[in-house]
Amino acid sequence: MFNLSSSFSDLATVSTIAKFSGGSIKYYGNGGTPSSASSLNTMLARFKEDMKHYLTRSIGFEAVMRLRSSRGINIHTFYGNFFVRSTDLITLPNVNPDSAYAIQLSISEDMKDFNQICFQAALLYTNSKGERRIRVHTISLPVVTDLLDVIEAADQDAITSLLAKMAVDRSCQSSIQDAREAIINTNIDLINAYRMVHAPQYPGLYISHPTRLLPLYCLALLKHVRLIL
């Protein structure tokens, strides 16, 4: 959905059409009437480029995606623009290279008998030539006993991205203030947990090397237009 309106257009209501149908929203907001012809021309030039990209990008149609995992891992929530058909099946009317989907998992059973777990994401789609195809990605991750190994293997970009998505949901369910506090609490919990497993020799706030930028990214997230009070 491309929104070029210059006044309030209730994007919160109108954008739901894109949310469940695998679409995307592009808002060119000028906020008021565009005060000059040249800024209007710029906006139209951008719209033209975006539309050109939109119509010529690679795409798949009528897709469903299923995530399979080893026993003991359950899917907690999905984040993104699609329709959730059952516990691990999502329907995507179109698949394009510009959307991202996030899946939050939870551990439901003790995994002490396993030394690795596997995930498989399978996407069944129709490509632009009309052929029905399945694309499969499988990944296997080790199971460790030490919390230190888990923290040392953390991916801070992925953590920030998932935090942002969780904050969006939390602010819709309760309030923006809650979402902000939840982000701050996440950072506090991480630093506390790291301190417990890796007691430092000297006082001060200690954070692991792979997650060293996480407080910085969370601060940037809190100052973003999305979460400003």
């Binding site: 808002y27 906020g31 906006m43 991202a100 991205s161 954070i207 910085l216 973003h224």
Partner: protein
């Protein structure tokens, strides 16, 4: 906090966060700030992003802030006149086509700043902490705000002054001249945006 955002912008930012790929989401959350005022080469010596702190802003520098959906060029007051002549074809800093000319008093009234404004207009202040361990989280740096760039978007866009030069690629309103400085800046900007699905909104600020 006394700063309010328009609800359409906020909802759009929400939707973006849920569906953007990680590479662009990280740019959206923590933008890249490139210094443009020294000799750089796209292949051998490309500009590297700086930490978003006002301490890194040089008084005679020109910076490009890339937040995925907006591109800002920020020109400081003591910029070298040769640079001005090469890139904008003007002789004085005050002659640069600026979108913010109407906004200076509004900016001064609505945004609270404790540091003196060095340039006439918008300051993309981002006071952040050092990312090295051990980290200490200072809360008194919050007034140097990273959100100014987003604030200014909402204030800039309704009152855009029509002084921008129209040019070859109308998406980017930067005049193009036939000298190496202007060419390499254009080449750099194009290399940033050419593989993006959505083209950014471009602003010149001084």
């Amino acid at each position: 906090m006394g700063v309010s955002t328009r609800i359409d912008e906020r909802v759009y930012a929400m939707e973006n966060m849920k569906s953007m790929p990680i590479k662009y989401l990280m740019l959206y959350i923590y933008p890249n700030l490139y210094p443009l005022h020294y000799q750089f080469d796209l292949v051998t010596n490309p500009p590297i992003p700086l930490q978003l702190s006002f301490a890194n802003i040089d008084r005679n520098g020109v910076y490009l802030l890339d937040t995925y959906d907006h591109l800002f060029i920020y020109i400081c007051k003591s910029v070298h006149p040769q640079f001005l002549a090469d890139v904008f074809n003007v002789t004085q800093w005050s002659q640069i086509p600026d979108e913010c000319e109407q906004n200076t008093t509004t900016m001064g009234n609505t945004l609270q700043r404790t540091n003196p404004p060095q340039v006439n207009g918008f300051i993309p202040n981002s006071g952040d902490n050092q990312p090295y361990s051990p980290t200490t989280l200072h809360n008194n740096n919050e007034n140097q705000n990273h959100n100014y760039s987003h604030e200014a978007n909402q204030l800039i866009e309704p009152e855009t002054k029509s002084n921008t030069h129209l040019m070859k690629t109308p998406v980017i309103n930067l005049p193009y001249f036939d000298n190496p400085t202007s060419q390499r800046i254009h080449a750099f900007i194009n290399s940033l945006i050419e593989d993006r699905p959505f083209k950014p909104n471009f602003h010149i600020l001084r």
